[in-house]
Symmetry: C2
Subunit: 240 residues, 2 copies
């Protein structure tokens, strides 16, 4: 077998991760200070090059760990960015990954070596290369998923209060909801299970804790499938 | 500015396209005979290398045109495949694209140079490398989208009959539906608009043509968003 494909151009492949976190009030983005030239010291998404023996998915996990200290994070491929001019040094394609974390779980582990820092989405600094475009795309993905997908609950503790959930949605959609309407409409979906305990730290009256009714959520999501027999099986088998 | 990043390994990047077609009875996959070594002459997804001045999205369009003659096709990125061992010759990452076409529109344009051929999903030949895995992933994507997304209607002519739609769904889910149930449940969604004309070629009695009610479809899809104010705007703005 030949050693290589003739007449083709090899290029660098990198990954960049858009990591969204939620600490109870605002959605935040994790950025670091870039460690290499060009643009060293500028704000950047955590990223790095795919190594010869690495699947890009593993690069994403390794790089996030190295640059931020974060481990065991929910990561998914967003898309590849491949404009020929996107990196001024040489042709580099980047696979963008999308991550969501509950910041309270991770606050202590942020690496100081790269000045990893959380920024409010409304106060993002300028990012290098096409990283701003990646963040914009990831925010769309977040809104899209928030509307449909249990993944949004990865941003919350397992037990949460309605005001917490409202703050999350307000932060995702960058808009204020009417408290009573939000609570009424949300509870009317039947997607939340009320716990017996209350959170008494955030207000005098206290707010009951809730959990996501995962089973019902999935069923609702599949409402449009209701004319497909065995759709439970089909959807369970998909990557949903 | 430096000329290149030190100490990094450059690799080939390719694209491969999973093209699904529908001609009225079965979902089919477009495959070609591979034109280069290794595995020359074996069945393969239409694919090719990303060129120095090319965005992978453009590679996908170019390659599909060159290898199959197909143009103006709905294409979307599926995911990147990057196992270090996936190509036996040298490290090659592949961006998989997903395409859906109404075969009746394209039947005459298939290129003969690469023996492009449509195969029934139930009769797929063995494909090279990890192409079988890509097809499997794309079929999941198809089922997922079929349940939710107007994209499935890209496989049908603008006007279609209920039996045509049923065959499409039976082919997507590889299962038989009860005719009367399918038709009743489908029409009860209110997602289809009945035309005045009938298709009289397929049966003696004839079958009315329908069109997708795109507006209602979108509204239904957004049902879970109903507690978000201005959600029309938000979803319209997303990549949906």
């Amino acid at each position: 077998m030949q050693q290589r494909y003739e007449g083709q151009t090899r290029m660098l492949v990198a990954i960049d991760s858009i990591v969204f976190g939620f600490e109870g009030a605002n959605i935040k983005l994790l950025v670091i200070k870039r460690g290499l030239e060009p643009e060293r010291g500028k704000w950047s998404l955590p990223g790095g090059f795919v190594q010869p023996d690495e699947d890009p998915d593993h690069t994403a996990i390794r790089v996030l760990k190295e640059l931020t200290g974060l481990d065991n994070v929910y990561l998914e491929q967003l898309q590849i960015y491949g404009k020929p001019s996107r990196d001024p040094v040489e042709r580099t394609l980047s696979v963008a990954y999308f991550a969501l974390i509950d910041m309270n779980k991770y606050q202590q582990t942020l690496s100081e070596a790269y000045h990893a820092e959380w920024f409010d989405l409304s106060e993002l600094p300028e990012l290098i290369f096409d990283h701003g475009e990646m963040v914009k795309r990831a925010r769309k993905q977040l809104r899209y998923k928030a509307a449909l997908h249990p993944v949004i609950f990865k941003l919350l503790p397992e037990r949460f209060t309605i005001p917490q959930l409202q703050q999350l949605y307000e932060s995702v959609y960058q808009t204020a909801f009417d408290d009573r309407n939000f609570s009424r409409k949300l509870l009317s979906t039947g997607l939340l299970i009320k716990m017996n305990e209350k959170d008494k730290l955030s207000s005098k009256k206290g707010a009951f804790y809730y959990q996501l009714n995962q089973q019902k959520f999935t069923a609702n999501f599949e409402a449009m499938l209701n004319f497909v027999p065995n759709h439970d099986k089909i959807v369970a088998d998909s990557d949903f």
